[in-house]
């Protein structure tokens, strides 16, 4: 029986793999991991700006109790001045069999919470967006290192040679922009392919995908001529893997024109599926991510929005508005992936670059505020699928949700654990550049065994 999934697998393979196998080195071809993998893909949902843990996935009764009072424990460094404690304006409720408490602004996520491992003890190095974005994406505080998606495609190659292996969806650009998906010193083919998913037309989603001038037949004839000339050169001068790779790349490019257009076109999804994701750029991004992963794309990163929407310095109630367009798509993605039989092999991460302070922020100008400052000392990340254990919480912050105190997990640990699920040992996934072996986790990273299925 030809299931939809199998059909896609066949199309996804698309390019005759034998041709690649003959070539000494197609660097994008699927590669053997270090050990048997639990997962094959990653969908990284980036709630950029720094969602507040105490208003989303880390309820703190003590914070409610001490609302408006100075924090009894010593304050930690954040970016700006903070004042007294600020209780969450949202209520929490137990969801699912696991009974994990989730804020009222994420009821849909609540409904699939049994699929999520809620890590409540994340922490990172700096309370500023830029270094934390870089750490979360590239494992380093300073710019100029390859992104996680680049590392993963470098380590594993990608399954569908007709699509880029690492795709980044963002309406507009997040803070810092493309440096967050750079391949840096890794070969350029591992860089994230940026797709502005607020655009509706395929030409604007992916550059150079359509030829505005020639018909398919005309282009096909042109390709025939071109490849004849390319082969003639090798007949005359001798076979050369470089030139052969060029010929193969051209074949793939030609086919990508149809395959990629199809992959990014969410109108081809049944109405029911589209409706389940809801409206908005982020919803479209999540659905595109499902389609891409289904077609063998290795990693898709979906930014919630342009700039840093979750940066609620001014008024934490803003989180309610933001959650409205994040809650449904995330839950829908989980259900949809399950439906497509992909959740088991796809790691879905939901996180920001850091969390927010439990104390109210009183920043630059002397004015009363109702928001929270950046907090790198403790925050929550959610991970589902790919062999991560659903329906559990891991680690804990202090009574007020400021600092990770129990089983702290830093971004390198999360990276190491994700790589492990993909069959990669983060210490062995190295790239020699300028005489040094670099890796995503630099000199850090511990596998967190407790959060993955054994």
């Amino acid at each position: 029986m030809i299931t939809r999934r199998n059909l896609l697998k066949t199309i996804g393979a698309g390019f005759p793999m034998t041709a690649f196998a003959q070539m000494s080195a197609n660097p994008a071809a699927p590669r053997q991991p270090h050990f048997a993998p639990r997962a094959k893909h990653v969908i990284f949902l980036f709630l950029n700006g720094g969602p507040s843990q105490v208003d989303t996935f880390d309820p703190k009764p003590a914070l409610q109790k001490f609302h408006g009072k100075p924090m009894p424990t010593p304050n930690l460094k954040s970016e700006r001045k903070t004042g007294n404690l600020l209780g969450s304006p949202f209520t929490f409720k137990k969801y699912g069999q696991s009974g994990i408490e989730v804020s009222e602004i994420f009821p849909e996520i609540g409904s699939v919470i049994d699929d999520f491992c809620v890590i409540r003890s994340m922490h990172t190095e700096r309370p500023n967006h830029e270094p934390s974005l870089l750490l979360t994406n590239c494992g380093q505080r300073l710019p100029g290192h390859p992104s996680m998606g680049s590392w993963i495609t470098y380590g594993l190659g990608t399954e569908n040679q007709n699509l880029p292996g690492f795709v980044v969806l963002c309406p507009g650009l997040p803070v810092l922009g493309p440096i967050l998906w750079t391949s840096a010193y890794l070969p350029g083919l591992y860089q994230g392919t940026y797709v502005p998913n607020n655009e509706k037309e395929i030409d604007k989603l992916l550059p150079n995908l359509r030829n505005g001038r020639y018909s398919a037949a005309e282009q096909s004839a042109q390709l025939g001529l071109l490849q004849k000339l390319n082969r003639r050169q090798m007949e005359r001068e001798g076979a050369d893997p470089q030139l052969e790779a060029g010929i193969q790349s051209m074949e793939v490019a030609f086919r990508m024109q149809t395959e990629a257009a199809d992959a990014f076109d969410i109108t081809r999804e049944p109405e029911k599926v589209r409706a389940s994701y809801g409206d908005g750029d982020f919803a479209r991004g999540c659905l595109m991510a499902a389609r891409l992963v289904e077609r063998g794309v290795r990693m898709v990163q979906v930014y919630y929005g342009d700039d840093q929407p979750w940066d609620s310095h001014d008024d934490i109630l803003d989180h309610r508005r933001l959650a409205r367009t994040a809650d449904t798509p995330i839950a829908a993605l989980i259900r949809d992936l399950k439906q497509r039989g992909l959740l088991k092999e796809t790691i879905v991460v939901v996180t920001g670059e850091f969390g927010r302070t439990p104390a109210t922020e009183v920043s630059g100008l002397v004015k009363v505020q109702n928001g929270r400052d950046h907090n790198n000392h403790g925050y929550s990340s959610l991970v589902a699928g790919g062999g991560f254990r659903g329906g559990m919480t891991y680690g804990a912050t202090d009574d007020f949700g400021f600092q990770a105190v129990e089983n702290p997990v830093d971004v390198h640990d999360l990276h190491a654990t994700m790589l492990h699920q993909l069959g990669l040992d983060h210490k062995r996934l190295t790239y020699r550049y300028s005489g040094r072996d670099f890796r995503l986790t630099d000199v850090h990273g511990n596998l967190i065994k407790a959060i993955v299925e054994t």
Partner: protein
């Protein structure tokens, strides 16, 4: 025995010394093994929490437990680690397995009680450099040896060929024949000026039968202004040149950055001595005139450097010296003789260096512009402040009429005498269908009470602002100042306050033009006046005067403090400013002139420094052949590659210095060599011995880099504009026909085509470009409008009388050869079968492998 060995310099010689007591055995046998294999990671830097510095620290062990259980090797993690057979304990050392006899020494030591005399405690971070380390090849003085004699007339005409040929013979490799003259012509032209040869240039060369034919071509190319445009770009990769700053949220162009790019281009074109090129980029501001003025634009090497100061040390040491000093930021370098103090010695210099600008306009013009700008800024602040004050006065006044408006909303009174717009806002706000996150609207119909609530809120907010101002001691700054005990409105009240008085879309706050009608004549006039003058100041502000991005010594140069494990929260001793130890005499001279930047520059640009000329000639070689003699061009250390031809490298380095640091002299010698003229061929026997062509038995087929590729496309279409210099143009601009080196380089958002074709990210120094070959690049050739336009233009340029003549013309233009019979036939068939097929034919040629690669 009563002589005691000094601890740090125990080499292998010491292993043979007899050792009688456990203390002596530790010193003579155990310690050398630990020092050689373990100390790099397990002293100051305590990897895994383990410090092997004293008996106590060994017994305490690391994160996973004690390293040694005295008397019990089988239970000692250190022993299990070096045996490398344990499933859990990490195999050590990471560089490879110890010799069995070394493992036995450690086992015996543990068995005998793990004696570690207190006097032998290891002092971390002393940074002593061993004789063995000093003997490393790249730190040796440059030695110009005589080239080996070669019994082959073709290969004995110049030293480069002699060195290359001798190595080939040594390895049993057969040199490839000379490439066809057309191939050589295309190669050397792309290589030196980054453009294809014109048919006229090619003809001139092909018809020149004199022995100087090649030399004439090379001299013409080296004299072309296009040469600097090509070769400057290689350096701009190292210098991480960009036209903007990596800003978080928006583009922040540096409109004067191009002056550095143009200076580098001119430096190459004028064959500026490389020593001056180095001096200028590091310390032009500290040089005497006339050098200072001439070299000043080079200072943008730092003046445009990324924000992070550690980056400057990295770019300086890797860029000029091929040393990875930044690796010694957290600990002594693990592999090279670079103590941690070296990093901080240099950082002291570069931290004592501030960003500066040198205006290129008369002082009066600069002063006038600055004064004007300040007036504009001040006026805008004044305007904003006045508007906000007035808006709050109006809001307070309206707040005091709350009950009237509320009554009008409920219909309890007519709307007479009330402001229509305000009433409308109240109506919208009080719409019962609207939800609010606070209880203050629960009883708004009680107008009196509601007004009292509103006024009390306003008063409370004012009071809090006042108190906070006092608590903060005036307007504050951002930074690590958290913990200020500040007052805050209750959340619900805050929400309510914002809805009524907030500057964005609230009921009572009137901003901009809406404010005007509330103001009395006098206030109105004043506001109009403020607006007019702000507008006028803005309009009359001329474009900023041109300036150079430079640096200067800070007023009080200061030494840096070593940061233990690189942590800002853990400062260690102060490190005097000085040069890197390995390139200094035993007691390095401390820097005393200002920041020490000039002393640093002179130390780098010194003929005594073996690394500076080696690193640069290697970069030149790399760009000619695709691979350096040292294949890690910015790392000449332990982990870098060893030179394939060390004598040749030294010969070139010596020639470089002798020639007065002339880059063009080195080019000339290289491209006129027989080595450079070899063909690309297949050769089974050679490939078996040297598949990577490290020994240059054939030419390396190289892909055009993105600049050359785009320039060649423009040249093919006859559209290349050859004006040099000036502000950058966007590369996605359809009207940009200039060379790609003049395209905008961004740290924030690198142009799509540049990124697609492996242009490095200019946030860090880059030594070598990747060459990738992916479908997305081919899509560019299939569908990108720019490529299609060049295809059309190329087709239109060909003016031969027949299709065949035009095909021949195209081949000459693009490939510097004639098509063979098959190619001609395929082309003619395509053109005949398809109507209007010429543009598509031309585009296919541009998309071909032959166009993209240079043999």
């Amino acid at each position: 025995m009563n002589w005691v060995l000094s601890t740090a310099l125990l080499g292998s010689v010491c292993l043979v010394a007899a050792a009688d007591t456990p203390e002596e055995r530790f010193e003579t046998k155990v310690r050398p093994i630990l020092a050689k294999n373990c100390f790099a990671c397990h002293t100051a830097s305590k990897m895994g929490g383990l410090a092997l510095m004293s008996r106590e620290s060994v017994l305490a062990g690391g994160k996973s437990g004690p390293a040694v259980v005295p008397g019990k090797p089988e239970e000692s993690r250190l022993i299990l680690a070096v045996r490398q057979g344990d499933a859990v304990i990490k195999a050590m050392p990471m560089t490879g397995k110890l010799k069995p006899e070394e493992i036995a020494v450690l086992e015996d030591w543990v068995r005998d009680g793990a004696v570690w005399p207190a006097s032998a405690r290891v002092q971390a971070g002393t940074g002593r450099i061993t004789a063995e380390q000093r003997a490393f090849w790249s730190f040796q003085p440059v030695r110009k040896g005589a080239p080996p004699a070669v019994a082959n007339s073709e290969w004995s005409r110049q030293p480069i060929d002699q060195f290359i040929y001798a190595k080939m013979r040594e390895r049993g490799l057969q040199p490839a024949p000379r490439a066809a003259r057309g191939t050589w012509m295309r190669r050397v032209t792309f290589d030196l000026i980054g453009l294809p040869p014109t048919p006229e240039e090619t003809d001139a060369y092909l018809n020149d039968k004199s022995p100087q034919a090649e030399a004439k071509v090379v001299d013409r190319l080296l004299a072309s202004p296009r040469y600097g445009e090509r070769w400057a770009r290689h350096w701009l990769d190292v210098a991480r040149y960009s036209d903007d700053k990596l800003e978080s949220q928006k583009e922040l162009p540096h409109p004067n950055a191009f002056r550095y790019r143009d200076w580098v281009i001119a430096a190459f074109n004028n064959d500026m001595p490389y020593s001056d090129f180095v001096l200028g980029q590091i310390a032009a501001d500290l040089l005497p005139e006339p050098q200072r003025t001439r070299l000043l634009p080079g200072l943008a090497f730092y003046g445009l450097s990324p924000e992070q100061q550690d980056e400057r040390v990295d770019a300086t040491t890797r860029g000029f010296l091929g040393l990875t000093v930044a690796c010694a930021q957290c600990h002594d370098h693990k592999f090279d003789p670079i103590p941690q103090t070296d990093f901080y010695a240099l950082q002291g210099v570069l931290n004592s260096t501030d960003i500066d600008e040198v205006p290129l306009a008369p002082e009066a013009e600069v002063a006038a512009w600055k004064a004007h700008k300040k007036r504009l800024d001040d006026k805008e602040v004044e305007l904003r402040t006045f508007q906000d004050e007035q808006a709050m006065i109006v809001a307070a006044m309206l707040a005091a009429q709350t009950k009237d408006y509320v009554a009008a909303v409920t219909g309890a009174r007519p709307a007479d005498g009330l402001d229509a717009e305000t009433l409308k806002r109240w109506k919208d706000y009080l719409d019962p269908a609207k939800q609010h996150d606070h209880p203050f609207l629960d009883h708004w119909r009680d107008a009196e009470k509601f007004q009292a609530t509103v006024l009390a809120l306003l008063a409370e907010k004012k009071d809090i602002d006042q108190k906070n101002l006092i608590r903060l001691g005036g307007p504050d700054a951002r930074g690590d100042l958290s913990g200020a005990e500040l007052l805050s409105l209750d959340r619900a009240k805050y929400r309510f306050y914002n809805e009524l008085f907030g500057a964005r879309k609230s009921v009572l706050y009137f901003a901009g033009k809406d404010l005007d009608r509330w103001l009395g004549a006098l206030h109105s006039q004043h506001l109009a006046g403020l607006r007019a003058s702000a507008e006028e100041l803005k309009k009359s502000l001329p474009p900023q005067y041109p300036f150079l991005h430079t640096v200067k010594d800070s007023e009080k140069p200061r030494n840096a403090h070593l940061l233990i494990r690189g942590s800002r929260d853990n400062p260690g001793t102060e490190v005097p400013r000085r040069f890197v130890s390995i390139l200094s005499p035993a007691e390095p001279k401390l820097y005393t002139q200002g920041s020490g930047r000039l002393e640093l520059a002179r130390a780098i640009a010194s003929i005594e420094n073996p690394l500076t000329p080696r690193v640069m000639v290697n970069r030149i070689w790399q760009h000619h052949f695709g691979l350096g003699i040292v294949r890690t061009p910015s790392n000449f250390g332990q982990l870098g590659e060893r030179p394939t031809h060390p004598e040749l490298l030294d010969y070139l380095a010596a020639r470089f210095v002798e020639s007065g640091w002339s880059v063009k002299a080195i080019h000339r010698e290289i491209v006129l060599s027989r080595t450079y003229a070899s063909a690309w061929i297949r050769h089974e026997a050679n490939e078996e011995k040297d598949a990577a062509n490290l020994y240059l038995w054939r030419a390396n087929r190289q892909r055009l880099d993105v600049e050359t590729m785009r320039d060649a496309l423009l040249a093919a279409g006859g559209n290349l504009e050859q004006t040099g210099g000036g502000p950058p143009l966007r590369l996605n601009d359809d009207k940009n026909f200039r060379r790609t080196v003049y395209g905008y380089r961004s740290r924030r958002k690198l142009d799509g085509t540049l990124a697609l074709f492996d242009h490095p990210n200019p946030n860090t120094t880059n030594e070598q470009r990747n060459v990738t070959n992916v479908p997305l690049q081919r899509l560019y050739f299939l569908n990108n409008p720019f490529v299609m336009r060049q295809g059309e233009a190329l087709a239109a340029r060909l003016n031969g009388p027949t299709d065949e003549a035009r095909i021949r013309q195209a081949y000459r233009l693009l490939f510097v050869r004639q098509p063979d019979a098959d190619e001609l036939r395929a082309g003619l068939a395509f053109l005949k079968s398809e109507k209007g097929a010429w543009p598509r034919y031309a585009q296919a040629l541009l998309a071909s492998n032959e166009f993209l690669y240079v043999d």
